[in-house]
């Protein structure tokens, strides 16, 4: 059956028709592509525009133009900074600084540790390699960190790390997905590059720093973004481990807008907008690297 229908499909368009349609297709294909692109953009942008507009709207008017829908729902027609003022008066600025500090620390310290591990998995043959990779890296990748939070909390509590920066930071440094990305990238680097340096007597650390790193910009950017966004958006662990005011992170601060007696919608959305804008500012300029990094990992 399948063969027959495939044959039919091939015959139907026919050579003669194909030739007539060519100029039309040259025009129609991009037009269709633009239509589809714009349709998709609407789905992507609608919630973001509404949330952004609503964050600049007085709380009781947040839903005013959404139902029935009017274009006013997408622009802050009753413009006010009330939500942002309230947020920052409550200490949102400190939460942004805290989260930024944590995310940058994760990228630098965690990035170094993950890159070293990825290098070992990608470039070395050693006993227990596959076993370690499967049991440690793959298994931890498959387990949702939030759902193993109870034993992790007990452990971190026994270190006395409740309400400390190390309690917030250290458990999230190692990241199996990032190790995996590094491994794939390093594995693709031509052996000659490394051999040349090794013959010159360079140590492995030296090879990593002076030969590998300079050509690894895409994977470094991609891994950094992954770690940054992961830490920037983390909620459950920071809430458990360091809920005190001075240490609150962005997502925890946002969640406080959901109260027992109702939610302050415009503050919730204002916090969400600030939470989203930081990673967006990082993603857009680096998107080229992001794609390159994955291209270079030999996944394809």
């Amino acid at each position: 059956m399948r063969v027959e229908s495939a044959g039919l499909r091939q015959d139907l368009p026919g050579h003669s028709r194909k030739q007539n349609r060519k100029p039309l297709r040259a025009f129609a294909q991009p037009a269709l592509a633009y239509c589809l692109l714009i349709a998709g953009i609407i789905i992507v942008v609608l919630p973001l525009m509404w949330a952004a507009a609503a964050s600049f709207t007085p709380n009781h008017k947040v839903f005013e133009y959404a139902y029935p829908f009017s274009w006013r729902a997408l622009f802050p027609v009753d413009f006010t900074l009330e939500a942002y003022e309230n947020l920052f008066a409550r200490g949102f600025g400190r939460a942004v600084r805290n989260t930024f500090f944590l995310a940058v620390s994760t990228v630098i310290i965690g990035g170094a540790a993950n890159a070293l591990a990825g290098f070992a998995f990608g470039r070395f043959e050693f006993r227990g390699k596959n076993l370690l990779f499967l049991t440690v890296v793959m298994l931890t990748f498959m387990v949702p960190v939030d759902l193993t939070a109870i034993p992790r909390y007990i452990l971190v509590n026994s270190f006395g790390w409740i309400n400390t920066w190390q309690g917030l930071l250290i458990p999230g440094l190692a990241n199996s997905l990032v190790i995996f990305l590094f491994r794939q990238f390093f594995a693709e680097i031509p052996q000659e590059l490394i051999d040349a340096a090794r013959v010159d007597g360079a140590t492995w650390l030296r090879v990593l720093v002076s030969i590998i790193m300079p050509i690894s910009k895409p994977v470094l950017v991609a891994a950094s973004l992954l770690m940054f966004i992961g830490q920037w958006n983390s909620f459950f662990w920071p809430l458990l481990i360091a809920p005190r005011k001075e240490m609150r992170v962005v997502q925890v601060e946002i969640s406080l807008a959901i109260g027992q007696y109702g939610t302050v919608w415009n503050e919730l959305l204002a916090g969400s907008m600030i939470a989203a804008i930081v990673p967006i500012l990082l993603i857009i300029p680096f998107q080229r690297y992001y794609v390159q990094a994955i291209t270079g990992t030999g996944l394809d």
Binding site: F101, I108, I150, T164, Q166, K245, V252, I258, Q260, G262
Partner: protein, 424 residues
């Protein structure tokens, strides 16, 4: 270069963060609590107790219960003091998470609390959570709706029956723009799917909320009274179409914009509406409704405060709990903290003496203070309250959305029994 510089910066910041706090002879205790304005009470307490520092850990309402479960369940010594939603006292005490508090209060202090609040904060005769606030419910109405429907609004001391509400609510539901969806709705419950407000429906018909053993629900929450009570609830949304089904709005918000004619809600709305200078509607309150053939029953219970049984700072923690739950501290917490109804009779008495409450609409708080004494019905006393509450909340959502009442309550029985098995 950039990288190296940021590395150094991070290393410096990191070591700073790791270095132990400056030596001090003050005890710091942590207080796990909600997003209330906590600064005034903390400042006052610290001024009176220079040797103690309070660190507030504020979390969202939805996150509090998992916080307590994980942290106290792990045997952690932090937080030292926790906000306790009163129906959870049994469950926490059963798990030995809370310090018995009887020794820190005098007889007079205990007697100052509303007896129902003391009972609710106790488990097997021992006080585990000191009462901070209590609550009650009133019917709020928008006078314009009654005018429009050609009806007379009730007086502050009238008590409508649920049957009367069923009759007038559809008459006050208006579809002004003709799109098939009302723009003004007749009625809603403030916390429309929470057992806190809904338990008094079957209780007004005389039916209990849980079996004698505090665990059994079969034959209790699917009894004929429960089915009758929640058929009423079902009808309000699905047959009389007088109540909106969504949860993303908060009823007092749409009451203020004139889109809800009546709602049953807490006295915390009275100062809210009274202090809203932009409020255009004319509103009033009356007593909590009841079923014609039944009795008046009002919801009660609110926030208590407890001490972690594993705390390393028993003295400091209990001193704070004592301060906030009695005398001047309790008054301060009521005035500048929770804004909820106080559980101390001495503080409650301020409603009848202070001039602030002489005039309408703030005098409605006196109505509320009196309503709080009319057959207040605490929530089901069970060690598995959280399970009981959350499953019923799911079930009430289903019924509101049009699920068969009896079938839904039977599903609730199945689910709750499955959870309660672990306590048997």
């Amino acid at each position: 270069m950039m990288l190296i510089r940021s590395l150094i910066l991070v290393a410096v910041l990191f070591t700073m963060a790791l270095s132990p706090a400056l030596a001090q002879d003050v005890t710091t205790i942590t207080w796990l609590t909600l997003g209330w304005p906590v600064e005034p009470i903390i400042e006052e307490f610290e001024a009176r107790n220079p040797d103690i520092k309070i660190e507030a850990e504020q979390v969202g309402f939805n996150d509090l219960f998992a916080q307590i479960q994980v942290r106290l369940g792990a045997g952690s010594a932090v937080p030292d003091v926790i906000a306790v939603d009163v129906p959870l006292v049994s469950g926490y005490a059963f798990r030995n998470w809370l310090l018995p508090l009887d020794p820190i209060f005098t007889g007079d202090e205990v007697e100052d609390w509303l007896p129902a609040a003391v009972d609710a904060g106790s488990y097997e005769g021992t006080l585990y959570a000191a009462p901070l606030s209590t609550s009650t419910q009133l019917l709020f109405y928008n006078k314009a709706c009654f005018d429009r429907a050609g009806l007379m609004p009730p007086g502050a001391d009238d008590r409508l029956t649920w049957e009367e509400i069923a009759e007038i609510a559809p008459k006050m539901t208006f579809d002004d723009d003709g799109d098939g969806t009302p723009d003004v709705w007749g009625f809603i419950w403030e916390q429309m799917v929470r057992i806190y407000q809904l338990q008094v429906l079957p209780e007004s018909l005389g039916a209990p909320a849980i079996g004698e053993d505090g665990l059994t629900v079969d034959g209790v929450i699917n009894s004929p009274e429960w089915i009758e009570a929640y058929t009423y609830y079902y009808n309000m949304f699905n047959v009389w179409n007088a109540a909106p089904q969504g949860e993303e709005f908060w009823p007092p918000d749409i009451f203020e914009t004139g889109n809800i004619c009546m709602f049953v809600g807490g006295p915390w709305n009275i100062p809210r509406f009274a202090n809203n200078a932009d409020l255009e509607i004319e509103w009033g309150v009356s007593r909590h409704p009841y079923f014609e053939d039944g009795v008046a029953a009002t919801p009660t219970g609110s926030w208590h405060i407890g001490v972690n049984a594993n705390t390393e700072n028993v003295d400091a923690a209990t001193r704070f709990v004592h301060f906030i739950s009695t005398g001047e501290g309790a008054e301060l917490w009521w005035r500048e903290g929770s804004g909820d109804f106080p559980a101390q009779q001495s503080v409650l008495a301020l409603f009848s003496t202070e001039a602030e409450f002489d005039e309408l609409p703030m005098s409605y708080l006196r109505t509320a203070a009196d309503e709080a004494t009319v057959n207040p019905r605490p929530r089901a006393v069970t060690v598995g309250f959280l399970e009981y509450e959350q499953i019923l909340q799911n079930i009430f959502q289903d019924i509101r959305n049009g699920a068969d009442v009896e079938e839904s309550l039977n599903l609730a029985v199945q689910r709750i029994e499955s959870e309660m098995a672990k306590y048997r």
